[in-house]
Amino acid sequence: MERIHPSSRLSRRRAVPALAAGAAVFVLLNAGLGLWAEQLPRIRDPYYGDKFVKLKAKAARPDRGPLVVVYGSSRTGFAFNGTLVEQTIQDRGGRVAAFNFGIPAMGPIGQLLYFRRTLADGVRPDFVLVEVLPSMFARAPDGPREQHWMTGDRLLRHELGTVERYGYSTPDVRGRWWESSLVPVYGLRFQLLGRVIQSWIPWQYRQDWSRGTDESGWCTPYKDVITADERAFATARAKDEYAKVLQTWVLDDTLAATLDELLAECHAAGIPVKLLRMPESAEFQAMAPPDVRTRIDAFVRSRGVPVIDASDWLDAGDFTDGHHQLRGGAAKFSKRLAEDEILPWVSGR
């Protein structure tokens, strides 16, 4: 400040060009990035974009069998090992291409949007499995829980109406979308940083999850075994997160309608669909009182499509925290799902 010489003629002459150039570069960069993000899902929503690239590659394989896609949460993300499913079915003389579209904190709204995007982007699954994550169907005073993760900056413009219809707060979702479109260097900063320097972002805000998955979209669990202390710590955290929701669980009819809309769109597209309840440890299941469990069961079974109930398939030792699986758990689950459910399903087509 002290060393600037405001009186120098050069300084005075270049002030306007400097301000104009600064404004122009800022506006043009943001406008360009905003437009690019609207066209390229890998920028706006890397969770979707990065997985979709892998799905597209799998769908384009000439020798593939019927394409089975599972839409779900992080539970699915860690559990459904598509390569193992394919191998298991191949060992029994069948053929299938399995893809895991499990995304952290994904509920019915995200599943509906991702299914629509998949079709719109030119990939049509032959079979669809839809995970039902009960906590994401719980009625909450401020709208669907999903809106805290599937935020406006991850949505395309034409999707805003859909999420508003299903209970998203309009000012929040539209504000976040406009921010990410007008000033994407700020609104999409975690997406952008995640493409270049992931380690600079706290893990809660990282969106590069889908990049690290294998070619079938499976997020390999970090560990094969964990100590009892680590499991106790992780389970306690899971309880912190879920206990209150599950103890007071009441179905949000709007969110149930979202699931129904997804199922109807699958039927309309001629794609066979089943609901999938993911494995949970007995301790995790016990968080929901018996009456809540009954209500959840009734809700899932009344959707008019077959249900694969894998809730009791695994032991406590197969999980890190009672609902996310270790590698061993993922292998057991994927193998059983392939043998008992997917193979008969695709064979009977």
Binding site: R12, R13, P17, G22, S199, P202
Partner: protein, 528 residues
């Protein structure tokens, strides 16, 4: 205070900090509808928010639309804008600041008119007493009353009142800053260093000018008041320099200070080493301490840069508050580079009146200690800040003794003045200053735990974020310091075409926005 143990007090403090909505609701329920509306428009007195930038745009356009011959109208406009800026945060306290400002104006006028020395002194002490009284009532009453409560209790008596929690105490933003400005003004008028300001709006602007109102720099009447009389002409260079300073501040705040806050305070669900030192390993604590040193520097100097930029937009030049303090070669040098407006204030109005360095080594050391203790207390009403001040006082005393000793050892003195010796002195000074930051917060028990664990080999959690970004940030800050210290930046600024500078501004803003972590952090010095 001891009736509430240190940790309990700290936890209440933390709870208060995390329950702003309770304080907000209680406060705003009693305000007039106009001020409630104002608060809705400008909820936080932070410079880098959209609401503030809109406020700034409106004020700047209105200001420069007023013809320059109508300087009084411009000054009134800034006074009104400044009042609204403060009232949007707390209307009642904005009125209080205005009333004490009016009183100081009258006191100074009376001091100037009065010939009798006794009466002049009485008026001076009345003004100082009023300012310090308001400061003590809001900032220190909780501290003093709680300490008294515990002292009485330790003798087995009941104090007859309950201890105050931080929820009971609302400290007006910037009270420490504008109180010192007002005191320096009346003292200068009393000493006949400056004449009492005749124009009320000019004087009100000196105290209330919104760029420096809430967190300084502490301006001096002699510097500021003559600027209020100067006619300001619009030119684009003024805007360019203002923008450059503002962007520099935004970058320091968002890209460095708030990012470093992730290393010190952690992220949601994951408390960092400063909030939970007992959970973290020794290496993480040392790295977090370095991150805190960067954070507090970039947080406060970033705010100061923004304040300088804003003032420049209206044609005012505020005191430079920082001059690359972590390049200081000793702690005395550090205080000539860190929060310069406060250190010079303490020098002129505390250290020198105490006798300064004229009365021998012992008296000088005593004066240094007293000055720094008061400086510590100025920052916060807590023993941790007092200890922080005492540590700096002791460092200053130790440096004086060391310097005197070095003068008797010419070889050592020469070695310390070489390039390697200078680097060593900078590193030692940085280490000493950084260790003092451990106590620069209200939580006594956390500070002690952190200090213990820094000097042991403790296991525990690592940093909340990969340390790569910390090291890159440290290298970046060092590089920037080097560029400025070697004059390379200045040469570039003098010669670069406007378009290159403009592209640089855009890149600076873009980088600041891209690197900003989730959830803005408040400025650390706003709480003082």
């Amino acid at each position: 205070m001891l009736a509430l143990p240190g940790s309990a007090f700290a936890s209440v403090f933390v709870e208060a900090a995390r329950s702003p909505e309770r304080i907000e609701a209680a406060r705003w329920s009693t305000e007039l509808p106009y001020f409630r509306w104002l608060h809705a428009q400008l909820p936080e007195p932070f410079f880098h928010t959209q609401a503030f930038l809109l406020f700034l745009l409106v004020v700047a356009v209105a200001y420069w639309m007023v013809p320059r011959r109508m300087n009084s109208a411009r000054v009134w406009l800034l006074v009104l804008a400044s009042f609204h800026f403060y009232a949007a945060w707390n209307a009642s306290l904005a009125l209080l600041v205005t009333v004490t400002t009016l009183a100081d104006y009258l006191f100074a006028r009376l001091i100037e008119r009065t010939e009798t020395p006794r009466l002049r002194k009485l008026l001076l002490f009345s003004s100082i007493g009023m300012n310090l009284g308001v400061l003590c009532y809001f900032k220190y009453r909780g501290f003093f009353l709680n300490e008294l409560h515990s002292l009485v209790g330790s003798f087995g008596f009941d104090a007859g009142y309950r201890t105050l929690s931080p929820l009971d105490i609302l400290v007006p933003f910037g009270i420490s800053f504008y109180t010192f400005e007002a005191i320096s003004y009346t003292v200068d008028v009393y000493r006949k260093k400056i004449a009492a300001e005749r124009s009320l709006p000019h004087f009100m602007l000196f105290i209330l000018f919104f760029p420096h109102l809430v967190a300084g720099p502490i301006v001096r009447a002699g510097d500021f008041l003559r600027q209020t009389r100067r006619i300001k002409r619009w030119n684009w260079l003024r805007v360019q320099i203002a923008l450059q300073l503002f962007l520099l501040g935004v970058f320091k705040k968002l890209a460095i200070a708030d990012r470093m806050a992730v290393f010190t305070d952690g992220a949601p669900g994951l408390p960092g080493p400063f909030l939970a030192p007992e959970l973290h390993n020794t290496g993480a604590l040392w790295l977090a301490l370095m991150a805190y040193a960067l954070r507090i520097y970039c947080d406060f100097s970033g705010y100061s840069d923004m304040a300088l930029g804003l003032a420049h937009l209206f044609g005012y030049k505020l005191t430079q508050n920082f001059n690359m303090p972590y390049l200081a070669t000793n702690v005395s040098d550090f205080w000539r580079r860190w929060h310069i407006s406060l250190s010079t204030w303490l020098r002129d109005y505390v250290f020198i009146p105490l006798g300064g360095s004229r009365a021998g080594a012992w008296a000088t050391n005593r004066n240094l200690l007293i000055t720094m203790l008061l400086g510590g207390l100025w920052h916060g009403a807590n023993w941790t800040y007092v200890l922080w001040g005492a540590m700096h006082g002791l460092l200053l005393v130790a440096h004086r003794q060391f310097r005197a000793w070095c003068e008797t050892k010419p070889a050592l003195d020469a070695a310390l003045r070489t390039q390697a010796g200078t680097v060593l002195r900078v590193l030692v000074t940085f280490l000493a200053v950084t260790l003092c930051w451990v106590f620069f917060r209200p939580e006594w028990d956390k500070s002690i735990t952190m200090l213990q664990r820094l000097f042991g080999l403790y296991n525990g959690l690592g940093l909340p974020l990969h340390n790569r970004s910390l090291w890159y940030t440290v290298l970046f800050v060092m590089l920037c310091h080097l560029l400025v210290a070697k004059g390379i930046w200045q040469k570039f600024w003098n010669r670069a075409p406007g378009t290159v500078l403009g592209a640089g501004y855009a890149c600076c803003l873009i980088l600041a926005l891209v690197l900003a972590p989730e959830g803005g952090k408040t400025f650390i010095y706003f709480t003082f």
